[in-house]
């Protein structure tokens, strides 16, 4: 499917609908890491490994929501020359195969203007946008811009989110609702938060779109636990970025890890 006529929002809905009885597998790929060409190959490896949706990271100078592994990868990507045009070319290539959502910090969205940024994303084939430092209360301009371009502005909720905020965020969520599983930045954890089921239940009650869990999920067991706790999708970032960083063959390494994660999510396991 090329998604030429389907809106980004529709394409994400289709990806969740097609996931064949398991939680959607949603790998994070840092655009431009270790190079633009290699990040495209990593994304393609993710598709082969069973990705339902890819979250493509735009490298940024000051990533406040990211832990050291993703921060370092972004710094490396910028030093290697990654820019918006280059990362959107990666996005364009991957969007031929799979629904792609861009993760991008607010200052880069506002730099050309939210409207222009959203239009550019749409032209590149993106389905949606995640802005980790654009909480409920600051989202209006970007939300309007995304709606005009048929893009899903995917909001985040955290374990600290109050019931009032959860209701408001869930109601305006498009594409999916990104549930942050831990109080903290991105990065692998030894164990999932003991209250994950509770957070997920709150998130699911607040919205009609699928609920995906991210931050702190790195092993097949954790992916499975998140799915068993009710997640419609499981986002894995740092584990994959680390695999890419540690290997001579980044795409191959990511494909292996992703296959293990997919097996962990397989029905009947």
């Amino acid at each position: 499917m090329t998604g030429a006529r389907a809106s980004g929002i529709e394409r994400i809905a289709a990806a969740f609908a097609d996931r064949k009885g398991r939680a959607a597998l949603m790998p994070y790929v840092m655009g431009g890491f270790p190079s633009l060409a290699e990040s495209t190959r990593i994304g393609e490896a993710c598709v082969r490994g069973g990705a339902d949706v890819i979250e493509l990271g735009m490298p940024y100078s000051d990533p406040l929501a990211d832990g050291p592994v993703i921060h370092a990868a972004g710094t490396h990507a910028l030093a290697a020359g990654a820019d918006v045009a280059g990362v959107l070319e990666v996005l364009r290539a991957l969007s031929q195969e799979v629904a792609v959502v861009l993760m991008c910090y607010a200052n880069m969205v506002f730099a050309p203007g939210a409207r222009a940024f959203a239009e550019r994303l749409q032209r590149a084939g993106a389905c949606g946008l995640i802005v980790p430092d654009l909480p409920q209360g600051e989202e209006q301009e970007v939300l309007r811009a995304c709606e005009q371009s048929g893009l899903a502005l995917v909001p985040l909720v955290a374990p600290t989110t109050t019931p009032e905020r959860m209701a408001a965020i869930g109601a305006r969520a498009r594409g999916f609702l990104y549930t942050v599983s831990v109080v903290g930045t991105t990065g692998e954890r030894l164990a999932l938060d003991e209250h994950l089921g509770e957070i997920l239940a709150r998130a699911k009650r607040s919205t009609e779109v699928p609920v995906a869990v991210g931050f702190g999920i790195g092993t097949p067991e954790q992916a499975r636990q998140a799915a068993d706790a009710g997640a419609d999708g499981v986002i894995v970032g740092t584990r994959l970025v680390r695999a890419a960083a540690e290997s001579e063959d980044p795409a191959g390494a990511v494909e292996l890890v992703l296959a293990e994660l997919a097996a962990g999510l397989a029905p009947g396991r």
Partner: protein, 385 residues
């Protein structure tokens, strides 16, 4: 309280922090109306910090300038800068909120020392993030913080200066928000921080205005202060905002020159606003919105952003922002030392350099925001870099 200053300010932070910002705003609103909080803060400002600080008519500096110049002596505040005013107020607030762990960022080390001092005073745990580059050029302040019981965490990302230290402090807060209060050191960050820090630093301006009226029976024609994030400037400006005849001058770091990219003068240079550390304001950035590293010989002004209210004061014309190069600031550092027997902080030396370059004026008030003992190695060329 204010979340926005015209188009500036706001709360551009991860969702995880939003409830903590609401809790902070609520606690601050109640504390500032509470006599027990206010009297405790007033007692500590008086007996511990040594306030009010003097307003000093600098005779020989005035002679050089050709007009009377008064210095508001924040260098005589305990710990050697204005930073203690804010640290005391926020740490008392944290204690009311039941938070025992304090984190802070620091550039020049003055805010880190002030926060470490207050944590020692109140028996609280203290972690200070500081860029590796700054731990080198402000070594004495690292030693002071450690002596006071704080844990200094060197930050080796990016240019290893104040911007990265602030980002790392915010990440710590995201991870430890339930137990921890983040004592931000300037009028930056997400709302309600810019308003809280301004209100806690306003004591500088309130004292100086009353002292000036008592001494001169008139208000100053100009109030001059250096601006990195801009807390000493906001503190002294805020008492004069309604005095429309008083000109307000904020002095940024021109570094190697504002026509180079090696400076710390986002307000002076202008351009498209940006988002840094949770608020929209004047920011040094490239076309795509990547933040550009600042440069200044002074660690406290080596920051690519500035407080959102400063950006608004600039746009409305109420305050004017100018910039002074490294070389001119270093010169002013020596001039004040020789003329007045006061070794100013390198940050403050920027304000003094601007003042010395003006031939006009009738009555100037300069915020002498801190003392320069910490800068000797940098100025005398002994800093390892």
């Amino acid at each position: 309280m204010e979340h926005r200053f015209g188009p500036y300010g706001g709360q551009f932070v991860p969702e995880t922090l939003m409830p903590a910002l609401a809790e902070l705003e609520d606690a601050w609103t109640r504390a500032r109306a509470d006599d027990s909080y206010r009297s405790e803060l007033a007692r500590l400002l008086r007996d511990f910090a040594g306030r009010p600080t003097p307003l000093y008519l600098a005779d020989r500096l005035s002679e050089r300038a050709g007009r009377p110049v008064y210095l508001k002596r924040e260098d005589l505040n305990h710990t050697g800068s204005h930073k203690l005013n804010n640290a005391l107020g926020q740490a008392l607030l944290a204690r009311r909120m039941g938070k025992q762990r304090i984190i802070a960022e620091t550039g020049a080390g003055q805010h880190g020392v002030a926060t470490a001092t207050v944590c020692a005073l109140l028996g609280m745990e203290c972690v200070v993030y500081m860029g590796v580059q700054d731990t080198r050029r402000q070594r004495p302040n690292v030693q002071r913080m450690e002596l006071l019981g704080a844990s200094v965490k060197p930050v080796d990302a990016g240019a290893m200066t104040l911007k990265e230290a602030t980002s790392e402090a915010i990440r710590d807060w995201v991870a430890n928000v339930a137990s921890t209060h983040y004592v931000i050191g300037s009028v930056v960050g997400p709302a309600p921080y810019p308003a809280i820090v301004r209100d806690l630093q306003r004591v500088i301006g309130d004292e100086a205005r009353a002292q000036m009226l008592e001494r001169e029976r008139r208000l100053p024609a100009r109030v001059v202060a250096c601006v990195g994030g801009g807390s000493n400037a906001m503190g002294i400006f805020s008492a004069f905002l309604a005095d429309e005849d008083v000109e307000l001058i904020g002095v940024e770091a021109a570094g190697e020159g504002i026509d180079t990219q090696r400076h710390g003068a986002p307000l002076t240079v202008g351009g498209r606003p940006g988002i840094l550390h949770g608020s929209r304001s004047a920011v040094m950035q490239n076309e795509e919105g990547q933040i550009i590293e600042a440069h200044s010989v002074s660690a406290g002004l080596d920051y690519p952003g500035a407080g959102p209210q400063h950006a608004h004061l600039r746009d409305t014309g109420r305050a004017r922002y100018v910039a002074v190069t490294d070389d001119d600031a270093l010169h002013a550092f020596r001039v004040l030392s020789r003329l007045e027997g006061i070794i100013p902080a390198l940050e403050t030396a920027h304000a003094l350099a601007w003042l010395l370059a003006q031939s006009d004026g009738e009555l100037d008030l300069v915020c002498l925001s801190g003392r320069g003992d910490k800068d000797l190695a940098e100025v005398l060329g002994g800093a390892g870099a």
